[in-house]
């Protein structure tokens, strides 16, 4: 069947199997920053933004996102032009193995888009669908705080935090 979506700003028409989950569809497009850690909707490493909302792409049928705007970790930035949240995770030491990191960053993006200055309790709540086995979370919370400041500074400078999508 056909699926029409915008992925990281680009309109796509895809041929998908009716039972395919969004995570597999994205990974087959080469967007492998979306990880599959459990395929049960528990670990959050497959998280992507669907119309701005963080969702586990491992359980979400691709057919259900017809017409949606999908943002994956690749849509936020790349090594040459990283998103401030991505920079913040590196600065804070919040990246160890890095397998959960894309999902964590997607959840952080969804949070900070809606609440630029969340309390620690809100950060905990917003990330609670993402498991990390390496860090003990302390440095991930630091990263969200650093990202908050980076984003506030960028918007204070009148700079857009939306990154242009590379062709």
């Amino acid at each position: 069947m056909k699926l029409h979506v915008r992925i990281n700003g680009e309109a796509r028409e895809l041929e998908i199997a009716p039972g395919a989950v969004l995570g597999d569809v994205l990974r087959q497009l080469g967007l492998t920053g979306t990880k599959m850690g459990c395929r049960e909707g528990h670990c959050g490493s497959c998280m992507v933004l669907v119309n701005g909302k963080p969702m586990n792409s491992c359980l979400l049928l691709a057919a259900k996102v017809e017409g949606a705007e999908i943002t994956t970790i690749e849509g936020l930035g790349d090594v040459r032009n990283p998103h401030p949240i991505q920079e913040a995770f590196v600065e804070a030491g919040a990246v160890q193995c890095g397998f959960c990191t894309p999902g964590m960053i997607i959840s952080t993006k969804a949070l900070l888009d809606n609440e630029p200055h969340p309390s620690l309790e809100r950060v905990r709540e917003a990330l609670s669908g993402n498991l990390c086995r390496c860090t003990g979370y302390a440095k991930i919370f630091d990263a969200v705080r650093i990202a908050e400041h980076k984003l506030a500074k960028a918007s204070g400078n009148g700079k857009s935090t939306r990154r242009p999508h590379r062709p």
Binding site: T32, T34, V90, G93, C97, P102, L127, N130, G136, A138
Partner: protein, 795 residues
Amino acid sequence: MTKTAGTKKTSARPEPNAARETRVVGKPVPKVDGLSLATGRAKFTADEIPPHCLVGMLLLSPHAHAKIKSIDTSEAEKLPGVRAILHHGNVPRIAHTTAGQGFPEPSPWDTFMFDNKVRYVGDRVAAVAAETRDIALQALKLIRVEYEPLPAVFDFEEALKPGAPIIHDEPDITSFLPFDPKRNLAAWAKADVGDIEKGLAEADVVVEGEFETHYYAHAPIEPHVTLTYLDPDGRLVIRTSTQVPFHCRRIVAQTLGIPVRQIRVIKPRLGGGFGGKQEILLEDVCAMLTLRTGRPVLMELNRAQEFTSSRTRHPMRMWAKMGVKKNGEVTAIDFRGILNTGAYGSHGLTVLTNVGSKCLGLLRCPNVRFDGKTVYTNLPVGGAYRGYGATQGMMALGQLIDEAARAIGMDPVEFCLRNHIRAGETHPIFRALGEGREGVDMTIASCGLAECIRLGAERFGWKQRRGKGASMPGPIKRGAGMVILMQGSSIPEIDMAAAIVKLNDDGSVNLYSGATDLGTGADTILAQIVAETLHIPVSDVILTVADTDNSPFDTGAYASSTTYLSGEAARRAAVDLLENMRQVAAEALDVSPEKLDVGEKCFYVHGNPRKTISYEALARRALYSRNQQQLVGHASAISHVSPPPFAAHFCEVEVDTETGVVRVVKYVAAVDCGVPINPKLAEGQTEGAVLNSIGAALMEEYLFNDDGRMLNPTFNYYKLFTPGETPLVETILVPTHEPTGPYGAKSVSEISTNGPLPAIANAIYDAVGVRLRKAPYTPERVLEALEAKRKAEHS
């Protein structure tokens, strides 16, 4: 400074590792792979799948113990898209161990790719390679297996009784170590130091107890995953989530009966291992499927299989006894234990010996006895797991220390300060318990434990918190507990690491190393060490690592060895290169080499900083103009000692006496890891290790039914801490300088795994006066213990 130039021979010798000012070592340099990971660009095993790749899947045993009477694959083979099916009837029968250890592995060779018998629920029965996941799943359902169920044994002690079912009765298994499979004994180890009876007799007080640790999982977020394919020359390439690329290559060659030269193992980015990926679990089967089909094959454990069919923490039942005098002197420690290795003996001996060597040497005590056995049962298989025996042993010893101090009315902090091993001291247990060989005598060269205890107690507020929360009004009580710890850094006289450093046109270098970064930051640490040694920025170090074709040998990422040993190899290789560069610089500047000092990416003549040559200029000279050569440095490192890092952990808990729920409200870990090469990464290792074990202490546990089937192989019922409820850990790094380590470093990754089980138990005791001798400390167990205490008080 490297002022010892002279001839090439002497200059290749590593410079002495004296403490000195550093530029990049000791700094929180960002992880070299941080941005590629954070942007989702870094490639893990499953992220680069070649075209026409088949999907490999395992058929697993539904029985805890059974003979396979027959396997009929004819229906499955007829299914379009099925390309190969493997089972015991069509693969070579070669005994080996899945434990990725040095050769010869100190684990019994008791495993076959497939066997005609299954020994636990989740054991391998067959494998399928098919065009798609769906076809592979269908094919698994079409394989008809006739089992003859056998009596099974699940309890440590039952397994040792005469008449117990024999789990390994096959004649073709071997071990060069103590091994008696007819009695379900996978290994045993004993050590006797001093005179234990005399020591116990001298004691004013003897405390003792039975303790038990449980089955729990590594639970890396990336499950075990392997991709195999044939390169254009027909060589087998294994791209895999492994901590041990070189052991993987050797063991797959053995298991498949093909030469090592036919195999290349590549470790891409790795999504966490914690010891679980020090194991050859999928690689042999996946490789066999590729050899049979000529096609690329991807195999990945699903989350349930990751729980049941990878590896676990070895559970242990322990009986420990400690004699102390009223003045706090420890006169005897008697430690007996049975380690449950499950159906296969992977790491069964060495985890056991580490229970003794990493715990019993922690205290000054002349009379120590260790008596350990490792038994087979029909349950999931134990393996290497961060902490490696010290976690189990400290669960018991850490509680006994608290009990002993209480028994003589001494603060445990004072007790630990009085009794811990110090720099300049040794302990006979180090020699008595080795890892498949005799142990190694070792004098502690660096020990910051006293400082860890003092600083940790101060930051934690030990005096204010201990003994104060039991009288809180209401059902919730607070308590504080502490524990001291040690681990090792590499396996002495066994582990080896090598490195090569090559100079490029622009003065940058390539580092070739077999070290395996499993998310710990090892690549960053190695880059820092090379950058420091050569006086170049970290960004000038380009890494080629963990690829058996392109890296020199390294035993792998285990035994807390990477920073200490692979780091030392990298440092020596960089020193070797620097001395070779010095010769070229001397030639170019027309001075003798010993007249040259090293500056930022340059050499200059001592006392004449304007007479200088940049690394770029000397590289170009060597590559293009005079006395042409590729400048390169190489070195190997082995260690003759295993310098322990030390730690003191402090923990405060809240115990709800109505529900039994225990909550960690404060946790401080003070760690002496020598010089932390990268403090941010060292903190991260500590925080992650502590949280892993707080989870193990409070909620993570395999639940089995009466048939040995795990009931909760999903994150839904096997809970890891989420960001929502996680306690936060405070880390204090207490630097010392370890003279045998690169820039004074020791290990840091494992030690803090060992703190939470005893520290939390001690804190629970402080809060409510009950001792939890069986982990995890679930609400049920806490309530049970409180109930038993109430009954005892009323009778």
